[in-house]
Symmetry: C2
Subunit: 342 residues, 2 copies
């Protein structure tokens, strides 16, 4: 078996607003790899199995000079995201053939890693697929679990409002909040998503495209905790109907990712309602919460006590479409690209 | 001695933007009181000595139907604010003639209190005047001390930016921050105030009317803690030059009190910088911090270790002008109205 194609997804052009499949990113087949003979230089060869596509990636599809909390993708180079692969060959002590690694990886069928920098060896519960480990049992699950533990100060009987409640983070937040005895109001952008939010326990679930968020919050609030994945008008509404001493957990503001970021209309409410707003990036919460996440949360995913959905597409050539779907919210469940089977 | 005039300050008209002395509030002399014979009905008669004029009062000079964290003043009735008086006569057990009470009191030369609701008996350190007890040793001092203790999570060597740093709250925050070993950047609106901020320890003090706030913060930041008394562009600038894991203590947003409240331009920074924003009202911090404030902070005021300035005017007829001065920032030091001497 000689050289074979090593398919890649390259960052090709900075999008003006929404990313354009085949333009913003392109699927490239010009590179080849000889799996048996490619030199490893004391590293190891990984076959990518699954890749995660997440909302935050939009921020990296920008010009290099723009500042943000993650560097811009490099034009002409493969993009990266959370992923899992299996080791095909190894010259690296401690990484055996057949073991699995998880981390921020290139969108490429095969990668050669010099060492474990940015990667971790990972084992799978037999009841779960690998894709779960980049979803409910991976970064989005960690995001929900760790920030809820750290910032919600949830008390039984309180009211939480979760935006994008059918998404990989929001759906976990709904279930964490129900476990803590809260009343859950949850919003999403389709009837199918509303149905799913009810199935996982939301007391009040609504389609924000057909129902006025302010009217729902006025009736069902005041909101003690707002889990913000969207920003903009939803954040303004949550603040308007927030309770005294309320907490806002700032996880995302996707309403501003593909255009001009919307302002917060009335920040004076922060004082009047003694609000606490917590922005976070999950990487800073891992040192404190990773062990509890693995010990307490992942088993609930594996046992089915916590439910999750996946929207799976196959092949690196689909990545561009999936990136757009995640920005538009047309996916249902955690967006996962299966690159190869084991 | 028969009935004498009981001067009052009445809420007369809702202002459109800045309050107008003699129109928004009026000094009224139509009421009389017979100090010796007025029935007390088991209450006590108080002669008001000093009254506090504070930025938040603008929020109460509104139409009754507007919602906020404090009720609107009632048109035609006397306004209220923090004040201290001496008891002239008493039928109330536990309140002796000659004792002093502090609380939210009517702007009136003499009041009859039915009981101690909203009032507390208070003693004075001989080194301080009564006015200090509605300033550095009163609500503004409490505001600075309690929120700093509760929310700053200050660490030695960090950088704090204090807006309205020459004011009764900001000047205390500067001194608290220096005591904790921070680098202090402070802004105010006149050269005289800049001089005072330097005297009390600000490392970098500037006049925001003549110096660009963003340029100062870009050079002297990044800002670990922002003490916000103004909101608007100053808040936007502080967020732009905030450090990762920074804290914003939302004490006031006076830039929006006399017009349209300005938005927060870029709330997405809350996530990117993992910021924590804490709104508060001092009344909710008192149960936890009042004892420490009395035991630790007031002695530092009395000894002169912590410095403060007062801008004293005499007589209830000056209240309207003082209210306007506090909104415009033309006062220098804590605005105090001395109504009467003991």
């Amino acid at each position: 078996m000689g050289p074979i194609t090593n398919g890649r997804v390259l960052f090709n052009a900075v999008p003006e607003d929404y990313p354009v499949p085949g333009e913003t990113t392109v699927y490239d087949t010009t590179q080849t790899i000889d799996l048996e003979n490619v030199p490893l230089n004391c590293g190891f060869l990984v076959k990518i199995l699954v890749l995660s596509v997440d909302p935050y990636m939009r921020g990296r599809l920008r010009a290099a000079e723009g500042k943000s909390y993650m560097p811009a993708f490099i034009l002409g180079d493969p993009i990266t995201s959370g992923g899992i692969g299996v080791v095909l060959r190894s010259e690296f002590t401690g990484v055996a053939v057949g073991s699995h690694v998880r981390g921020l990886v290139l969108h490429q069928e095969y990668i050669i890693a010099p060492d474990l920098t940015g990667l971790e060896l990972i084992e799978k519960d037999p009841r779960l697929s690998w894709s779960a480990y980049i979803g409910a049992a991976g970064m989005p699950g960690e995001t929900a679990f760790m920030a809820w533990k750290e910032y919600s100060r949830a008390k039984q009987g309180e009211i939480v409002f979760v935006s994008t409640g059918a998404g990989p983070v929001g759906s976990m937040v709904i279930q964490l909040a129900k476990q803590d005895g809260l009343k859950v109001i949850a919003s999403a952008g389709s009837e199918e998503k509303v149905k799913f939010m009810k199935e996982i326990g939301a007391d009040v679930a609504f389609n924000y495209k057909t129902t006025d968020t302010r009217a729902v919050l006025e009736k069902e609030g005041p909101v003690d905790i707002f889990w913000d994945n969207v920003g903009g008008e939803t954040l303004d509404a949550a603040m308007e109907f927030a309770a005294l001493h309320s907490r806002i957990i700032e996880c995302g503001q996707i309403s501003g990712y593909n255009g001009v970021p919307p302002p917060m209309k009335n920040p004076a409410l922060i004082i009047a309602k003694c609000m606490h707003i917590h922005g976070f990036l999950v990487r800073y919460l891992r040192p404190k919460h990773a062990a509890t996440f693995r010990a307490e949360f992942v088993p609930k995913i594996a046992s089915g006590e916590f439910k999750f959905t996946e929207d799976v597409s196959r092949g690196l050539q689909t990545v561009g479409d999936v990136i757009l779907a995640v920005q538009k919210g047309t996916n249902t469940g955690k967006a996962v690209v299966v690159v190869a089977d084991e």
